[in-house]
């Protein structure tokens, strides 16, 4: 049996499919309940109740919403480019799923434990902008196009500082493999020595996922709903799910790069009794709560403020910290693999 699954082509294909399913099904349920959690958390912060009608505590609300979306009619505007219009939400959703192939939930639990895991994640997350640009252009609508342009500029700008943060982490690890990144944090999680980079990275992930306070591509008070103003029913739902899956993905990246992945805090007794994947999920939930908390607390950034923050604050700061880190590693002989 082991031989069949690991040494024959058919077996490897079946095993990979099974692994992908085992990851994607919990992920999609997670996405569904993230929408629920968002409404509950926002409600609690704003002294409301939130969804509480469908099922106990409103727990079935996400499924009711999904069913509603499925039943609705997909409206395609007459001036739209039909093929690209339908391709864009699928692309967004697929890219959000695709990146999970390299995320290690526990030691050796990544579907593809590749050598260049960090670069793969960076590559996939930099492609996310296409779904938005294509949607904005294919809709043939002013608001959608304005949203797409804002989004393209925003995501490209924040990728730069995110790249420098990744380089800083790579320097401290000496490898591009995500499992190595987590194992390098056995003594201390990177969020402590690289704290400024942690903050920069978290804020950049907010911008990269178009979340509040950087949700100007949607900006419903200015450009209606930005790039997905023309979308309805399932095509809208795919954008929605893609955005939330991206939030979980970015939280997973933050967890792996800065919060020690599946490692228990301090690596001491009572914490190590809890298995690694649970720690991973808990840390991802903590980051996600940060996303929701920020959304409930801060007003939307103005467009020029956003660009200023990305290029004039984060870029020099991350560049400076990169040089400092490299210098410290060199001066104290802490370079890995040296």
């Amino acid at each position: 049996m082991y031989d069949f699954f690991h040494n024959t082509n058919l077996g490897i294909v079946i095993l990979t499919f099974a692994e992908a399913l085992a990851l994607l099904v919990p992920l999609l349920i997670g996405v569904a309940y993230l929408t629920y959690a968002e409404r509950k958390v926002l409600a609690a912060i704003q002294l409301r109740k939130g969804p509480n009608v469908v099922g106990p505590f409103g727990l079935l609300q996400p499924f009711a919403d999904a069913l509603k979306m499925l039943m609705k009619e997909t409206v395609i505007p007459s001036g739209a480019n039909r093929l690209l219009f339908l391709l864009a939400p699928m692309l967004t959703f697929m890219l959000a799923m695709l990146a999970w192939a390299v995320i290690p939930v526990n030691e050796g639990w990544a579907i593809a434990d590749i050598n260049v895991g960090i670069l793969y994640l960076f590559a996939i997350s930099s492609l996310g902008v296409y779904g938005i640009i294509i949607a904005g252009w294919a809709s043939n609508s002013k608001y959608a196009f304005l949203g797409a342009m804002r989004s393209a500029a925003q995501m490209v700008s924040y990728e730069v500082s995110m790249g420098f943060v990744l380089v800083t982490v790579m320097l401290c690890v000496g490898s591009l493999n995500l499992t190595d990144v987590v194992l390098a944090q056995r003594t201390v999680w990177f969020c402590i020595p690289l704290f400024p980079m942690f903050v920069v990275f978290f804020i950049s992930t907010l911008a990269e996922t178009n979340r509040a306070p950087f949700d100007i591509p949607e900006g419903e008070s200015e450009i209606v709903a930005g790039f997905f103003v023309e979308y309805s029913a399932m095509s809208f739902a795919l954008f929605f799910l893609g955005e939330y899956a991206n939030m979980i993905l970015m939280s997973g990246m933050t967890t792996i790069l800065f919060l020690g992945g599946w490692l228990a805090p301090f690596g001491v007794e009572p914490f190590t009794w809890i298995p690694g994947p649970i720690w991973f999920i808990l840390k991802v939930c903590l980051c996600l709560f940060g996303f929701l908390w920020v959304r409930a607390t801060f007003p939307r950034y103005r467009y020029d403020q956003l660009m200023r923050l990305g290029w004039k604050v984060f870029l020099p700061l991350s560049l400076l910290w990169l040089v400092l880190t490299a210098g410290a590693l060199m001066a104290f002989g802490w370079l890995p693999n040296a």
Binding site: V156, E159, L176, P299, R302, D304, R308
Partner: protein, 237 residues
């Protein structure tokens, strides 16, 4: 076997999409096919075992350069019928360039096949037992670090040149001082008054908008905001 099938699959899609880039009528479709071509090239790199180059191709070309292409093509209203009219005039030049490139490629690849000893004279062959990320890094940042820095400087000069060419005079545009906006306190802009029942604020001697001579009296405490005026500063609280 599977490697061969994958190679021919990616190579075929690459060639077809490359041909479509040139022949597509809609320029946006052209750029999208260009992206598809980049992707398949990255997949070919992966098959050849050059995973670092594959990822860099996707990050740099697909993630950044092609986004800008797409941006420009979507924003500019290019008349492609007019561009297409010159097709026959430029076809010979294009064909010549293409032919030269093809011959050169054939020479390079043919050299590989015809003279296998040529690969022995490589200046820096792939060291055994080292991932290609590490090998490339060692080559770029250790062996040829000064050339690498020089290349970076050339790019920096090009970037500064572009900025100098497009920089406009700041005095003609209304400049924002972010620090003043951030420093603004509610006390600078909001005044809480207790207005008696039935009396309008006008009777208390308060006019909205404030009249000029009142402004000069009140500037002592609200000077920090003086230069901005009321419009255009939506610094939310």
């Amino acid at each position: 076997m599977i490697t061969q099938i994958l190679f021919y699959l990616f190579a075929a899609v690459l060639l077809i999409s490359a041909a479509t880039v040139v022949s597509a009528r809609n320029p946006v479709h052209s750029v999208l096919f260009l992206i598809l071509a980049f992707f398949n090239a990255a997949a070919l790199f992966l098959i050849a075992g050059a995973e670092f180059l594959a990822m860099t191709l996707v990050i740099v070309y697909v993630g950044a350069v092609a986004v800008l292409f797409l941006f420009v093509v979507m924003m500019l209203d290019v008349d492609f019928a007019e561009l297409r009219s010159g097709f026959q005039r430029y076809a010979p030049i294009g064909a010549t360039v293409g032919a030269i490139l093809f011959v050169e490629l054939a020479l390079v690849l043919g050299g590989w096949k015809l003279a296998p000893a040529a690969s022995g004279s490589l200046a820096s062959p792939m060291p055994p037992g080292m991932s290609n990320t590490e090998a490339l890094g060692r080559l770029l940042y250790t062996d040829y670090v000064f050339l690498f820095q020089a290349a970076g400087l050339v790019l920096l000069v090009a970037m500064i040149g572009a900025i100098v060419l497009t920089l406009r005079d700041r005095r003609t545009s209304r400049h924002q001082v972010i620090r003043n906006q951030v420093d603004r306190k509610p006390a600078d802009t909001i005044e809480v008054l207790s207005v008696g029942l039935g009396t309008g604020i006008r009777e208390l001697g308060i006019y909205r908008p404030k009249v000029v001579e009142e402004e000069t009296v009140a500037t002592a405490d609200a000077h920090g905001d003086g230069g901005h005026g009321a419009g255009g500063h939506g610094h939310g609280h």
